[in-house]
């Protein structure tokens, strides 16, 4: 299951990343394996999405969300 496949309000636990370059940026922003990540909302035009992670809100494009593999 990828983060991009979650619907609004759904949550999951980060397992790993499928893109090394993205993983480095995401981890710097607190997206670490083991963290709970929840989809809060989708932008009006369907992309990007807003997620709750590590106590704050982050927005990322769906393409980027598809590199996050969930448990």
């Amino acid at each position: 299951m990828k983060l991009s496949q979650l619907g609004v309000g759904e949550q999951g636990i980060i397992k790993e990343f499928t893109d090394l370059e993205m993983s480095v940026k995401l981890m710097e922003m607190g997206c670490l394996p083991g963290e709970v990540i929840k989809v809060d909302r989708v932008a009006p035009f369907g992309d990007p999405i807003a997620v709750s992670i590590a106590g704050y809100q982050l927005s990322l494009r769906k393409k980027e969300a598809s590199t996050i593999e969930l448990v």
Binding site: P48, L58, R61
Partner: protein, 704 residues
């Protein structure tokens, strides 16, 4: 002066770093340049409790020492090179207490650089409200550094921070965080030997960042490259394992220093607000409403101050002409320098207001929602969600809008935004449009309710926006960038704006505009004045002699003669000769040499067009007397063909020319300042000129 203590502020974006910087320095700030790089350096003086002044440097906000944008590269550049003129004696890491884990990542990196460091733990009030319990003393002991709790928005803790800065020792006391050498032991020792660096983490970062570090020589970079290859160092893999190790350390430290009780309260409120503000329909409706309100206010509130500024300058010019000895020097001072200066000053109210609104939008957190909502739409044409604000600001004035494009992290997105913003119809084009439309578009109603003149004006505005988007789309394919575009952005919780910050932003933007763009504008105004006031000497003498003859004196009043002299002198001035020399080039667009002069004189600023027309058509040189200019222009006849000069074809061709051509010295000056390269303003000027010429040509040939 040289021994002044230098302190660098470092921290994540949205941590209140700029609030702390403003609290420490007040208006004692200056914006300069970091040598050799295209990043603004914000620094200021702060008075310590003991009366000594120290220098504070505000480094760009970043989530890590690994840079994601051009601005962020400066952080490691400054902190790792002792010879850098900004190298600090002490680093203050500003951390957001409500988001401690992510904020400590940057701290552990800074700590490992081996500089003396303290933490300013901001937003303690929010952390307490959010039922989060931080044991600051234990945390300070675990890291072995001073930690100062603050609530900077409420000005709490600033004095304590000043005390901590003042009493800080020159020795780094922090405990090591992770085993840096384990990441790449041989490479670190080789680089340390090569560059004689003592600190392992600096050596490791150089292994990652050597390609863009300005203080390394070409040979050094090549040598490091060889070492990196020799040890098969993989930058991203090393960075990933380093980040994971750092979070292990942080989790360990936080385990017995922070207790969470429930989800932060603020965030719940933000979530509820976002339900409406980023709603599929309401979100967009509210956004358009906010923009509408901002532009209404900018136009309405700046009208009176702008009028006041103009009045003051007109009065100054009158006083000058009355009391200063008449002569070339006085004319230069008043018609060149003073006129140029007033052209700059008159924009101050709009600039200050636009920046105040943008600063409020940013401060409250709404701007990141706009970016979030429109990113997809803008990405399709090669822009970013963050380009929306500069583009819309361009309707008022391109100058502050281009300055506001700084918030765009991606270099390519930012360049494209800067390149197309001047295409959006700004307020300076309005007088030209109104004058020309009233000349050729009948004051009629279409279908009984659509004002034809209004329709023409609106079409010009729409055309400008569509063109800007089209050009952006073309540039998307032309500009090469090896930086991958991505959109991982924090959505900060909503907060009330800090009026103090808004005030400082207004003050700083105006100061920057006046000092930077002002210099260029005045220089060009002086050159244009000289060109328009002087010509080949013998011709000027002939003109004066001609009007001294009895036939003229008996026929005209002295006022009229003066006007005729002025008109003929302009025709024979260097500017006039230039206008005539470009006439063959602009004839296919339907322009004669008089319009040519207007094109040249309004090169510095579009507004000059109306004034030049007034002078050329022997009306009082006063742009406010629009009606009489209009009549004279309507009656103007071409000398060669006997046809009207301002036909529908010529007027529309001219409007299109002004819509697309870069007739604005202030914009070019600010583009040069923002891109710090002469290349970009030249490219911009050229493409806009070509676009204007071709479009005008097509319009004229079609309507002729």
């Amino acid at each position: 002066m040289k021994n002044k203590l230098r302190v660098a502020l470092v921290g994540n974006p949205n941590t209140g770093k700029s609030t702390i910087f403003n609290s420490l320095t007040g208006l004692n700030q200056k914006i300069g340049n970091f040598p050799g790089v295209t990043v603004d350096k914000k620094s200021g003086l702060s008075k310590m409790p003991d009366g000594e002044f120290i220098e504070i440097i505000d480094l760009p906000g970043t989530y890590s020492l690994y840079p994601k944008s051009a601005d962020e590269t400066i952080v490691f550049e400054v902190l790792s090179h002792k010879e850098n003129p900004s190298f600090p004696d002490l680093v203050v890491v500003v951390a957001d207490a409500t988001n401690l884990k992510r904020n400590l990542l940057l701290y552990t990196q800074i700590a490992d650089l081996g500089l003396p460091v303290i933490i300013a733990l901001n937003m303690m009030d929010l952390a307490a409200k959010g039922n989060m319990d931080i044991d600051v003393d234990t945390l300070a002991k675990r890291l072995n550094i001073p930690i100062i709790p603050l609530a900077a928005r409420k000005s709490q803790g600033i004095e304590a921070l000043k005390n901590a800065i003042q009493y800080q020792t020159k020795m780094p006391l922090q405990l090591p965080t992770i085993d840096v050498e384990a990441i790449a032991p041989d490479l670190i020792s080789d680089i340390s030997d090569l560059l004689t660096i003592e600190n392992s983490y600096v050596a490791l970062q150089i292994a990652h960042q050597h390609e863009h570090l300005k203080y390394l020589s070409k040979t050094q970079i090549d040598q490091i490259k060889i070492l990196v290859d020799k040890h098969q160092f993989h930058s991203q893999k090393a960075q990933a394992s380093e980040t994971i190790a750092r979070y292990h350390f942080i989790n360990d430290v936080l385990l017995d220093t922070v207790k969470y009780k429930s989800v932060a309260l603020e965030e719940n409120i933000s979530n509820k607000i976002d339900h409406y503000l980023t709603h599929k329909i309401w979100g967009l409706v509210i956004f358009v409403g906010v923009l509408f309100a901002i532009f209404q206010s900018i136009f309405a509130w700046s009208e009176y101050p702008m009028f006041l500024i103009e009045t003051v300058f007109v009065w100054l010019a009158e006083m000058g002409h009355q009391y200063l000895p008449s002569g070339a020097l006085t004319n230069l001072l008043i018609d060149g320098v003073l006129a140029g200066l007033s052209g700059v000053m008159v924009f101050i109210p709009q600039i200050a207001l636009l920046f105040a609104f943008i600063s409020i939008l940013e401060d409250t957190g709404y701007m990141s929602r706009v970016t979030f909502m429109l990113d997809r739409l803008m990405r399709k044409v090669g822009l970013s969600g963050k380009s929306v604000v500069p583009l819309i600001g361009g309707l008022a004035c391109a100058v502050p809008s281009i300055m506001s494009a700084r918030t765009i992290e991606n270099w390519k997105d930012r360049m494209i935004t800067i390149m197309v913003t001047p295409l959006v119809s700004c307020s300076a084009r309005l007088p030209i449009y109104t004058l020309l439309i009233s000349l050729v578009v009948p004051k009629k109603m279409l279908l009984g309710f659509i004002n034809l003149q209004g329709l023409a004006l609106m079409s010009l505005y729409l055309l400008s926006i569509v063109t800007a988007i089209l050009v952006a789309w073309i540039m998307k394919g032309l500009i090469r960038s090896n930086l991958k575009s991505y959109f991982i952005m924090e959505l900060p919780v909503y907060r009330l704006p800090r009026w103090n910050n808004v005030g400082i932003t207004m003050y700083e933007s105006v100061k920057t505009f006046v000092t930077q763009a002002g210099k260029v504008i005045i220089a060009v105004a002086i050159i244009l004045w000289v060109l328009a006031s002087y010509g080949p000497t013998n011709q000027f003498e002939k003109i004066t002699q001609k009007y001294q003859s009895k036939t003229y004196i008996s026929q005209y009043s002295s006022q009229e003669i003066n006007r005729l002299i002025a008109s003929e002198k302009l025709e024979n001035s260097y500017a006039g000769l230039l206008g005539k020399s470009i006439e063959p080039g602009i004839k296919p667009l339907g322009f004669d040499w008089k319009i040519g002069i207007a094109l040249i004189t309004s090169f510095a600023a579009r507004e000059v067009f109306v004034g030049t027309m007034a002078t050329l058509y022997s009306v009082d040189g006063d742009a406010t007397k629009m009606e009489s200019v209009r009549e004279k222009m309507a009656g103007a006849i071409r000398a060669d063909t006997g046809e009207k000069v301002f036909t529908t074809a010529t007027a529309f061709s001219l409007m299109i020319f002004y819509a697309f051509a870069m007739q604005c010295m202030s914009t070019m000056a600010v583009v040069y300042r923002e891109t710090k390269s002469i290349k970009w303003p030249i490219i911009q000027f050229s493409y806009m000129l070509v676009l204007a010429y071709i479009s005008s040509f097509i319009v004229y040939q079609l309507l002729k």
